[in-house]
């Protein structure tokens, strides 16, 4: 049995064995594949289905993916999808209410999801950090969410530390990456010819023990360190958190909010791709014959008007109010509420904003003119 921190060497040709072992252990294995012009996490069986030899370029409001001819499996940093839908379903029934007939009562029962063992391969450090944020919101509170908990229990995570960043990444600013340091079962770092592998949980140890991997040579460990450090140093985007949350609290009436409101579509894309945004709507869907009703929860967004409709009034009727609410919550009130930033620096809200609004620039602009 290897030590938890022991670094092992997984040759690229043996990655298939890792997928197979997960499958044999009853996991439905998901991994990064290229679909519809981007990286998505989808069910996989074979290494060839993964995004082998692909590389993406990201910029505000723009994402393109192309073949690089490389043998590398995990060169694409991320796509629009994170771990969020694996634990917090985009749409799910919560309770089903059955009527007992005319004049009778009713019975309600929870529609908990079927527990499934799901392994996700290729999870990035920022997404592990985001999962920890979501765990805090959904599990570690007075009222744990049983729907989230059921999905979370079945999750096995194979992380990949980043040796390459997208131009929209800024995890180093928030200290969430590029190296996966916690919250995984197995972590890989992709190098020439293969991966440095280490376990982060007893289940991960067990999996790696089954593969009987050799120890990673010392020079390989040095190369891994160098690759991770180089990735961190090369990260072009920055979000200075040093004066947060005060910067935002002190600038509630800053003219920049009007400026961004002119550009913002209020479409909600940033919140939907954000791996920590958890806002949702719950609505009842009664059947036409009034025999039963389903209470459904689905992802909502602070950018939708309905979301800020409170007992007869719209509390955030302008786009300016809604953008400010989003940024304020993500970077300021989240800290008061949950003790951590709501942003993990994955950059998805920048890439997947149809008009390329960049929160790091918005924060910088607030700082510039408030000084």
């Amino acid at each position: 049995m290897p030590e938890p921190t022991q670094r092992l060497w997984l040759e690229r040709s043996r990655l298939q064995q890792l997928l197979d072992s997960l499958g044999e252990r009853g996991f439905e294995v998901h991994g990064p594949v290229v679909r519809d012009g981007a990286l998505v996490l989808a069910p996989v069986r074979a290494v060839e289905e993964l995004a082998v030899g692909w590389r993406e370029s990201q910029a505000p409001g723009r994402y393109r993916i192309e073949q690089s001819g490389s043998e590398r499996v995990f060169d694409v940093v991320n796509g629009p999808g994170s771990l969020k839908p694996f634990v917090f379903a985009a749409r799910e029934p919560l309770i089903r209410v059955e009527m007992d007939g005319p004049g009778g009562g009713f019975r309600a029962h929870a529609t908990l999801p079927e527990e499934r063992a799901v392994a996700v391969v290729g999870v990035r450090a920022c997404d592990l950090a985001a999962l920890a944020v979501q765990d805090r919101v959904f599990l570690h509170d007075r009222y744990p969410d049983p729907y989230y908990a059921a999905r979370r229990r079945g999750l096995f995570l194979v992380a990949v530390s980043c040796t390459r960043s997208a131009s929209t990444c800024f995890c180093t600013s928030l200290d969430t990456g590029p190296e996966a340091t916690t919250g995984f079962d197995v972590a890989l770092s992709e190098l020439e010819g293969g991966f440095v592998a280490r376990a982060g949980s007893p289940a991960g140890e067990d999996l790696l023990a089954e593969l009987a991997l050799p120890e990673a040579p010392a020079e390989t460990c040095v190369a891994e360190r160098r690759a991770l450090d180089a990735c961190a140093e090369a990260m072009p985007r920055k979000l200075d958190p040093s004066d947060l949350p005060e910067l935002l609290y002190d600038n509630l009436d800053h003219p920049r909010w009007d400026d961004v409101a002119e550009r913002c579509l209020s479409c909600g894309n940033c919140t939907q791709v954000c791996p920590t945004c958890f806002c949702h709507d719950e609505r009842d869907e009664p059947s036409l014959d009034s025999g039963h009703s389903l209470r459904v929860r689905e992802w909502d967004s602070c950018f939708s008007l309905e979301h800020s409709y409170l007992h007869g009034m719209q509390v955030r009727s302008r786009i300016r109010d809604r953008y400010r609410q989003w940024l304020m919550h993500k970077l300021a009130t989240w800290i008061d509420q949950f003790g951590s930033s709501g942003c993990v620096g994955c950059g998805r809200c920048i890439s997947w904003c149809p008009v390329g609004i960049d929160l790091t620039q918005e924060v910088a602009a607030l700082r510039e003119r408030s000084a």
Binding site: D36, A38, P80, A90, L265, P286, L288, V355
Partner: protein, 263 residues
């Protein structure tokens, strides 16, 4: 049924339209029997030539107002209906036939009809809400039949509709689609268009053309700049907004500005 409360009376009326929205209702094959049990379907010419006079509890109205006779008839419908719900782009925004609002209708009549003097028409095609009070609107070209059913189901319970007002992007993302604006540079109208279709076109790799009309609080100017950045001409951008729902205020205002009609 004796001894039970009478069923609410449902009527469906049509003005200038293609009947496609009424067909969405008829296409709800698995729900039609239940619908007929819960409502007395008193007037629905697309389904039956046997009609009953009003008053009606719920009137669904398809189509836009394009003739002097329409103007009179919609008032009669309104008088007979407790709740009036407009369905579809024609009824809620004037439909594609609103394009006449920008044109010389007398000239069009002369070009199209051998006896233009027989054609009695208004110079404009306008939504029902510009003529009578409308209680609820269900947008879409055509409407989503399930949305109509949801509104009718809630009406039975005395509840107001709870249709989404947010953008198509919300549905698109919930389905796990890759954004075609960001990944492919397509001029998708999803960010300003009301959800309800299930992100039908983007799910098939096609850019949304706003058949569900504006979302609850869109920013057409921001999208117009985005579309220009994708390479569309100002004229093409105006056309994207001038489509089926182009008479709806936020879309019309933007297209008017782009075409220099706002002076």
């Amino acid at each position: 049924m004796s001894g039970e409360r009478p069923r609410p009376r449902l009527a469906v009326f049509k003005f200038a339209s293609c009947d496609g929205c009424q067909l969405q209702l008829l296409n709800l094959e698995h729900e039609l029997l239940a619908l007929a049990e819960r409502f007395e379907i008193a007037h629905f010419l697309e389904a039956s030539s046997r009609t009953q006079d009003g008053p009606y509890d719920v009137a669904l109205v398809e189509g836009s107002i394009t003739t002097p006779a329409d103007v009179q008839r919609i008032r009669q419908v309104r008088e007979q209906a407790t709740t009036l719900v407009t369905i579809g782009a024609c009824a809620t925004s004037g439909g594609i036939q609103h394009l006449r609002n920008q044109a010389d209708v007398e000239d069009w009549k002369r070009q199209v009809y051998p006896r233009p003097e027989w054609i009695e028409t208004l110079a404009t095609s306008t939504p029902i809400s510009e003529h009578v009070r409308v209680d609820h609107e269900i947008q879409g070209c055509p409407v989503n039949g399930d949305q109509v059913l949801r509104v009718l189901t809630r009406a039975l319970l005395g509840a107001a509709p709870d249709l989404p007002g947010a953008s198509v992007c919300m549905e698109c993302k919930r389905q796990g689609n890759v954004c075609i604006v960001v990944a492919r540079g397509l001029p998708c109208m999803g960010p300003v268009t009301r959800a309800g279709c299930g992100a039908l076109c983007p799910s098939l790799g096609r850019d949304c053309y706003a058949c569900f009309g504006p979302s609850e609080d869109p920013n057409p100017d921001a999208l117009a700049r985005g579309l220009r950045a994708l390479g569309l001409s100002s004229r093409d951008v105006a056309r994207r907004f001038r489509g089926i729902n182009g008479h709806r205020r936020p879309f019309r205002a933007l297209a008017d500005r782009l075409e220099g009609r706002d002076g």
